[in-house]
């Protein structure tokens, strides 16, 4: 399935874009998505860490994504 990713901070720089479409397997988990990202964009491996938010909530590695979700890549935050 094709999903759309929102990217911020350094993730946006890695994609060269704030929105990136990516093809993943049906019933893709966050863990699968992270692996896919690292294999397609090896620079993700250089980050201190990155989280995935689904519909504006942080979700764990076993969370299964759906095409209707709003999915965002959250590199290490640095507000304040």
């Amino acid at each position: 399935m094709e999903i759309e990713l929102l990217a911020f901070g350094i993730a946006k720089d890695i994609f060269g874009n704030g929105i990136q479409k990516i093809t993943v397997t049906y019933k893709c988990s966050i863990k699968d998505l992270k692996q896919e990202l690292i294999s397609k964009y090896p620079k993700f491996q250089d980050l201190a860490s990155f989280a995935i938010a689904v519909n504006s909530e942080y979700q764990a590695d076993d969370f299964v994504l759906s095409v209707k979700d709003e999915i965002a890549i959250i590199p290490p935050v640095s507000g304040g």
């Binding site: 929102l6 911020f8 901070g9 350094i10 946006k12 720089d13 250089d46 980050l47 201190a48 938010a53 504006s56 909530e57 942080y58 965002a72 959250i74 590199p75 290490p76 935050v77 640095s78 507000g79 304040g80």
Partner: protein, 138 residues
């Protein structure tokens, strides 16, 4: 009880204090974050803040609600800037009112510490030798 704001405009301390004012309060504590002119012995020229706005607002609201549960406080204003900020400008204001000062001091510290860990806002430092997303790489 809580006033959350994410704005590209200059933050206003007075409006935060007006919001948290309460007849039952004996204290208002403010935390004001300001842009420092150096980092790791390098001169900082300016900062730029980017936010995942919808989620940043919901995370800020969560933190404020946690603070209200955790501490004996009255009201909270939590305002954060986005966009380009020069040295000495204000990226964040936290105002907390409480009956007794200690709770408001503790709540302010809890709110800024938690915000820095979980709110999806990113800071880019513009230094003399280039620009870097803070904390992005180890």
């Amino acid at each position: 009880m809580i006033d959350i704001k994410l704005s590209p405009e200059t933050l206003n301390l007075e409006s935060c204090n007006v919001f948290v004012a309460d007849p039952a309060a004996g204290a208002i504590v403010n935390f004001i974050g300001t842009v420092r002119n150096e980092t790791k012995k390098q001169k900082v020229l300016r900062l730029e803040f980017e936010a995942y706005e919808k989620m940043a607002l919901s995370e800020m609201k969560k933190i404020a609600n946690q603070a209200l549960e955790k501490f004996d406080i009255k009201k909270i204003a939590l305002h954060h800037r986005t966009g380009v900020l020069d040295i000495s400008e204000i990226p964040v204001i936290i105002s907390v009112s409480s009956a007794h000062r200690k709770a408001a001091f503790l709540a302010c510290e809890f709110i800024i510490d938690t915000l820095k860990q979980s709110v999806p806002i990113w800071k880019k430092e513009f230094l003399e030798n280039g620009e870097y997303w803070v904390s992005a790489t180890p």
